[in-house]
Amino acid sequence: MTAQDLAQDNRLGEKKWRRRSLWALLVLIPLTLAVEAYDSVKALLVDNDLFERRVAWGESAHFGGSDWKLTDLRGAFGMKNLPPGTVPVLADFAVTVGNPDLQNLWLGCKVMLIDAEGRRWLPTSAVRLNAPDNVQTCISAIFSGAKTGDVLNLRETFLVPKDVTNTIRPAVGVGSERPYFLLFQMEKD
């Protein structure tokens, strides 16, 4: 009899533990995933431009310690020696330097064009256009030794298909601000 009672006891205990474990799984599975994936998620966020911050036309935005303003976005039509159906696009920014530690704040600086479908173009090296002396690229500006209050003129050159010129918007991402990036709106938006 006692043995049977014992068996019944054990059986009940097991049921209880089964129920408890099921509830525990609800906590443990997300917890384990969080603990295991913490470093990877952090790396994913720090390395990629994922979430946009929109900047209205004509306005400037504080980003990576400085104030960024889109001054111009235009196509350089009529150039020779380019594949048919393509057009070079120039994006000009005026950046007022706030924190001059650009080598850290602007690390991995990436200027791109994003179209309506979310496709991204990086600056090209296939097209070289003459530019005034005071114009720099984002990367060269990092090493320019700019001080607080300086205004940097940045220009990046892209090569895009002709049919996307109406929908492309310039965007900027820097290491210190990722996963956020600036997406500049145009006048007509």
Partner: protein, 197 residues
């Protein structure tokens, strides 16, 4: 009788285990590239870029410009020249590695002897919506030419990224062992896309 049955069972188990041991994927397989297969002429769509093989040529020698001087490059095997057209998909990207995998799975990496040419050869920068032609150049043993596969990926050791695997199909061999249609010299001095430099 029972002993014999046991012995047979043991042998079956050993064979099964050998099969399991041989066919079990390991770390290198688990994190290896994910193949996207196609053949010559197909547009093979990978994650970051798409590629189409236009033509495959074979040559004994290559002529190329090096710092303004024309060089002729010889090889111990045969030059395989694959003309491809790339396009990026969602974002501008760089295609930087290619290799030629022969029928016996010997793998011939893209040659490093043409690294002085910086346009139309690997690494190639490609942008969304813009087709770009390039030449892939391999040095291979002549018998590794037929039924080969050209593997193209954006970077070396691209873990769990897509890799275009384009099968070349059979190539007839001529009497001297070289693939049929092998030319003596191929000229690489002209840009692949026909545009002036």
């Amino acid at each position: 009788m029972r002993r014999l049955a046991n012995l047979v069972l043991l042998l079956v188990a050993v064979a099964l285990c050998y099969g399991l041991q041989m066919s079990k994927p390991h770390y290198a397989d688990l994190i290896g590239p994910i193949p996207v297969r196609g053949k010559v002429g197909d547009v093979v769509v990978g994650r970051s870029f798409e590629v189409r093989v236009e033509k495959v040529q074979f040559a004994r020698k290559l002529r190329a410009d090096r710092y303004g001087e024309t060089k002729v490059l010889t090889t111990g095997g045969v030059w395989a020249l694959v003309t491809v057209e790339f396009a990026a998909r969602d974002a501008s990207t760089v295609v930087s590695t290619a290799s030629w995998r022969g029928p016996t799975r010997l793998t011939y990496d893209h040659t490093e002897r043409l690294s002085f040419i910086n346009n139309g050869f690997l690494p190639v920068t490609v942008d969304p919506g813009l087709q770009k032609k390039a030449r892939l150049v391999f040095e291979v043993r002549p018998e590794e030419v037929g039924n080969a596969t050209v593997l193209i990926s954006s970077k070396l050791l691209a873990a769990l990224d897509s890799q275009a695997e384009i099968s070349i199909g059979p190539v007839a061999a001529s009497s001297d062992g070289m693939p049929a249609g092998t030319v003596d010299t191929l000229d690489l001095t002209q840009p692949v896309d026909g545009l002036p430099k």
